[in-house]
Amino acid sequence: MDFGFSEEQEMLRATARKFLENECPSTFVRRMLDDPTGTTPELWQKLAEQGWLGLVYPEGYGGAGLGFVDLTVLMEEMGRVVLPGPYFSTVLLGGLVILEAGSEAQKKEWLPRISSGQARATLAWTEPNARWDAEGITVSGKPAPGGTVLSGTKLFVQDAHTADALVVAARTADGRRADDGVSLFLVPRTARGIEVKLLPTMDQTRKLCEVMLNEAVVGPEALVGEWDKGWSPLARVIDRATVALCAEMCGGAQKVLEMTTEYAKIRVAFGKPIGSYQGVKHKLADMLVDVENAKSITYYAAWAVDEGAAEAPLAVAMAKAYVSDAYRKVAAAGIQLHGGIGFTWEHDMHLYFKRAKGSEFTFGDATYHRERVAQLIQL
């Protein structure tokens, strides 16, 4: 048994921390709050040069061929700086679906360009019904002369407004089971009949969009994977993306803990550093317990996903349930222990708090995942 990171992984962590602290200070994050793209072409190119855009893609597609445990290290570091921009949507949603279910031609067309920073992608999956299961997919895909007609609305779609390609999950049949009858289509964002609107959101470091499909016609080459059989690869991708999100959340929570601990050491009230009061000390100790536990269950889920272990879905559900609660609690405590300053726009704490809150509900909150756990352990 070895439940630690390798030397290479520790090196990746050190490199990533240095790079991200230089390139993504909070002044940059704040600038990106108002920038609709959430990133700059320069930073995006640098991410590509680091090899991070293709980190988990095979070398044959321009990637680095690393695993999800490696990615966990990188995501933690990105979470520490609340990295804005379409990394998650491009690499872990759009790109990963293409890798998981795409044809050889689709992979060759898109993955090398994603890896090199030339193309961005996303996944249009969720809808106004705000569900995370197969039944939530109601956008219709109807066979028509020349291909398929897509109609309906997708909501909460990450970075659709800057993506070159959208992978759209659509209902192509009303099967007896909801997960039978979902198909995936790879659609250029600029295709006719597609309209994208950027949404004002609480966490402005992650841009969300509404995507309207107004009888958009796509050709047969747009199908990703098998007709009616799209849910299974989609669910695998969502599980993987969820692990990556958990890692990002762990990094953010760790950073909040560090910032708050440092503040508690220097901030004096009633003649003593507030960190010497048990009310503050115990809260910080509880934050540490939550952060360490969040990492443990996330690393386990990353390992299970990498191994293709049968227990991977359970591991992912456990991780998302735990980490969703943990990051929210830690970020809220971070504001509380900073006092009035923690509630200001000038202080960085709200960047973390909002990211925690947004991530808590992305891919299902703790209540949703606890129910998933209940089903998987056959309660």
Binding site: M1, F3, H282, L284, A285, Y300, E371
Partner: protein, 398 residues
């Protein structure tokens, strides 16, 4: 990162599992584990014999050096032992304090004579140990202890009182912390003695607990003489000796606790599946489902945080922050588990052993009450939080 065991570790597990299957005294196990029906002296005789068999089969003292009766293996084998024992629902180790604390501390600080004299008798259960740390006014604030040891030639004379002393009624030896320099600072004038419990002047009085059992005791010392050669780790150095090995030992034990927690949770899930509620089973109640699922997650989390800590130990590194969280997490989770058991039992939770209506002979009531001690024994939760705050996060002392 790889959670799979090596071939050697798997072989050790298989050998242990086979041995347990062949040697576990089934009938005794259930009687001893579920407690009160077995006369105390009879249970002790049984547990003593059980530990001796385990030792002779080569399954105790796994991490201790061979020259002192151990096996010279790693923490990995140690945690496999705890896991398999718990999975097999094997009876607990009687000499737990000897194996968990006295032995490793003697091996770390003892003279060659002490290291030859004590550890192997601890493993074979020839000599049972108890821990004389807590006093009526020195529990979590251990450094305030008042029991005094005054030098008289080549002996020390001990006067004072200990309390909450588990297994003192059966113990042959005690790890005794006593004040040897009353003028020194609180932490500095304490000495660690190996005390023969059969010495004249020792009175042991059992204390009845919230469960009705008497697991622990008050111990009174009246002019008890200890030879100076029974000092462990040097005069006035007892504070350091007393606390150093605690964290390491807790780690390996944590794995056993995790598995026992999981066994309790499995039992609770079974109970919930059998319990009718509002026309269905308790497991169909969405709130009970949420609570059970959370307990499942929290029990798994405990395992993986422990695995990270043990990985560091195996690599020869000091355990990091993850090692300090286990105690808080375990007792918080276990108490929540027991609370949920009472909730699932509903009004039946009132009925204890002796009632025909008591669910599962009242075992849940017993474990529920016992669990309240979890956040007090072995350092209260509040002290654990102070330790994390000060030693891990580096916050100033209050």
């Amino acid at each position: 990162m790889d959670l799979k065991p090596t071939a050697e570790q798997q072989a050790f597990r298989d050998r242990l599992r086979t041995w347990l299957r062949q040697n576990l005294p089934r009938e005794w196990t259930s009687r001893v584990v579920s407690g009160p029906d077995v006369p105390r002296s009879e249970a002790y005789l049984f547990l003593r014999e059980w530990q001796r068999k385990l030792y002779e089969a080569g399954f105790l003292g796994l991490t201790w050096p061979k020259e002192y009766g151990g096996r010279g293996l790693t923490f990995m084998e140690e945690l496999i032992l705890h896991e398999e024992m718990a999975l097999a629902k094997a009876p607990p180790i009687l000499n737990l304090l000897g194996i968990g604390m006295a032995g490793p501390t003697i091996i770390a600080y003892g003279t060659e004579a002490q290291k030859k004299r004590y550890p192997s008798k601890i493993l074979s259960c020839e000599e049972i140990w108890c821990q004389g740390y807590s006093e009526p006014n020195a529990g979590s604030d251990l450094a305030s202890l008042q029991t005094r040891a005054v030098q008289d030639g080549d002996h020390f004379v001990v006067n004072g009182q200990k309390v909450w002393t588990s297994v003192a009624q059966a113990a042959d030896w005690m790890m005794l912390l006593a004040r040897t320099d009353p003028d020194a600072e609180k932490h500095k004038g304490i000495t660690y003695f190996l005390l023969d419990m059969h010495s004249p002047g020792i009175t042991v009085r059992p204390l009845r607990q919230i469960t009705g059992d008497a697991e622990f005791n008050e111990v009174f010392f009246e002019n008890v003489r200890v030879p100076a050669e029974n000092i462990l780790g040097g005069l006035n150095n007892g504070w350091q000796v007393g606390i150093t090995t605690l964290m390491y030992e807790r780690l390996a034990l944590g794995f056993g606790l995790q598995v026992r927690l999981r066994i309790a949770l499995d039992a609770l899930v079974e109970l919930a599946k059998r319990t009718k509620r509002n026309g269905g089973t308790a497991t169909q109640d969405p709130i009970v489902r949420q609570k059970l699922a959370q307990l499942w997650i929290d029990t798994e989390v405990f395992k993986y945080t422990g695995a990270r800590a043990v990985t560091k130990l195996l690599k020869g590194e000091l355990p990091g922050p993850e090692a300090s969280t286990g105690k808080i997490w375990w007792c918080e989770t276990h108490q929540r588990l027991q609370d949920l058991a009472m909730e699932i039992l509903g009004p039946y939770h009132q009925l204890v052993r002796g009632s025909d209506w008591a669910v599962e002979q009242g075992i849940w009531q017993h474990t529920f009450l016992r669990s309240r001690a979890n956040s007090v024994e072995g350092g209260t939760t509040e002290i654990q939080r102070n330790i994390i705050g000060e030693r891990v996060l580096g916050l100033p002392k209050g």
